[in-house]
Point group: C2
Chain length 248, copies 2
DNA sequence: ACCTGAACACCGTTCAAGT
DNA sequence: ACCTGAACACCGTTCAAGT
């Protein structure tokens, strides 16, 4: 608010500069999306209300409706911007698998940069331009790896779904307040808590889970994520055959 | 509301019956969760507000706070009830794979019965009792299939995540109003629309996606879901080896 | 065409006051 | 201990009125 006032004043002091930077830039969709993304980055998705975004732009919420038809509309435009940050990968056929893992890891990173935005991605099919590039890239890599078309198509879907779901899980994990308020960023107690729950289960009712308490909670987020990606990729090749062979 | 008034009246008409059914049963957590679940079932998760639940119980929202500490708390208890509807499966080692598919298909069905509830499951780790039974069951089946412990543990996680994410996707798909308002339940136009988008893409920029428009949109929800499950299961066995063999 | 203040119809949650 | 009315501090969205 004060910044805007200052800018306006300095604009009056220097009545005209050759570069004529906009004293107070007119509202636009890009500005709105930017402001909203700053809010998620600083806090999380809940902090993005039409009122908070408007306040950041020094105006009222009603003003946003010229450029955005909805809160949902705003959220989708934000997601599109976030996904456009992901760089596609030039296919090197020999490294298709690593490249696939890299691609989706980058997607997860982008989503994680804006806690909660993954939420928006879940369920809106991937038909915006920035997502189309990613789908195209994934298909190219899977085909380079010799995955048949139908399996490549469904695997792409599954990989995106798994990635976005992981993103949602991570963002929620960050939100949940760890029972001890003096630690801030760690979610270690959280996993440790889960392990404690598993380990303390009655052995006769939970023979597998209770004995696997350590195994269940081993590995960090990235390792588990990559395991899932690898599983889907490996499975894409063989799952149909298996399903048929075993008579399902 | 009117029903409650009627019940109260008939209670006055017959001052005492031997079976003494509760004229107006006292509030309890189970009653609250039931009322809330009826609301999701009839509509969707957005319809579950503390106010709407209270109204259904013929009281005010403030009254619920004796039995439920939060809206989030209420949602989690609802999820726990929904997951408790899923029956676990007695392991038959020869059919471990089909049984795994069946188990998670049943989970998806339960989630789909309450549109939007899957949302709650995403991110809250599986440490409630009803979920623990499902985890135990999945571990038992994977072990029966000869999957090593670490892979079985991570695969269980991945299978649940994929299932819940699919549930969220389905519930959102049902919510999205198809552009043509005269059809109500079908989401066929939606997939058809995606296919149209894919098919109309410029071939030079989207060589794979544009040519795979039909392949990408083939198969119904269940078929795609089962593909994903099968992929994760098949991949659980081989992904680590592959990752190491290919030097990732 | 764009902006805005004020209002509308909602939320979750709290709290003093009742029984 | 349980319930409740009223209030508080929010929402998204609309709309008439301004420029």
């Amino acid at each position: 608010l004060s910044t805007c006032t200052l800018e306006k004043m300095s604009d009056l002091d220097e009545p005209r500069s050759r570069r004529d930077r906009p004293a107070k830039p007119p509202l636009s969709r890009a500005l709105i999306v930017n402001a909203a993304l700053e809010l998620v980055k600083a806090d999380r998705l809940d902090a993005v209300t039409l009122r908070s975004v408007a306040e950041r732009l020094d105006t009222g919420p009603a003003s946003l409706y010229v450029y955005v038809s909805n809160r949902e509309d705003l959220l989708e435009r934000m997601l599109e911007r976030v996904l456009s940050e992901v760089q596609t990968i030039a296919v090197e056929p020999l490294h298709w698998r690593e490249q696939l893992i890299d691609l989706f890891t980058t997607v997860l990173d982008a989503l994680s940069r804006y806690p909660g935005i993954a939420h928006v991605a879940l369920g809106s099919l991937l038909t915006w331009s920035s997502a189309l590039d990613l789908v195209e890239n994934a298909l190219a890599l899977l085909r380079a790896g010799g995955i048949p078309d139908q399996e490549a198509a469904w695997a792409t879907d599954a990989l995106f779904l798994f990635t976005v779901a992981t993103g949602v899980e991570h963002s929620i994990e960050r939100v949940r307040p760890p029972t001890e308020p003096h630690h801030k960023s760690t979610s270690i107690d959280y996993i440790g808590n889960a392990r404690a729950v598993f380990a303390s289960l009655p052995v006769n009712r939970y023979p597998n889970l209770s004995s696997m308490a350590t195994t269940m909670t081993r590995g960090d987020d990235l390792e588990r994520f990559r395991f899932g990606l690898n599983a889907i990729i490996s499975g894409a090749r063989s799952s149909l055959d298996n399903a048929i062979a075993e008579g399902a």
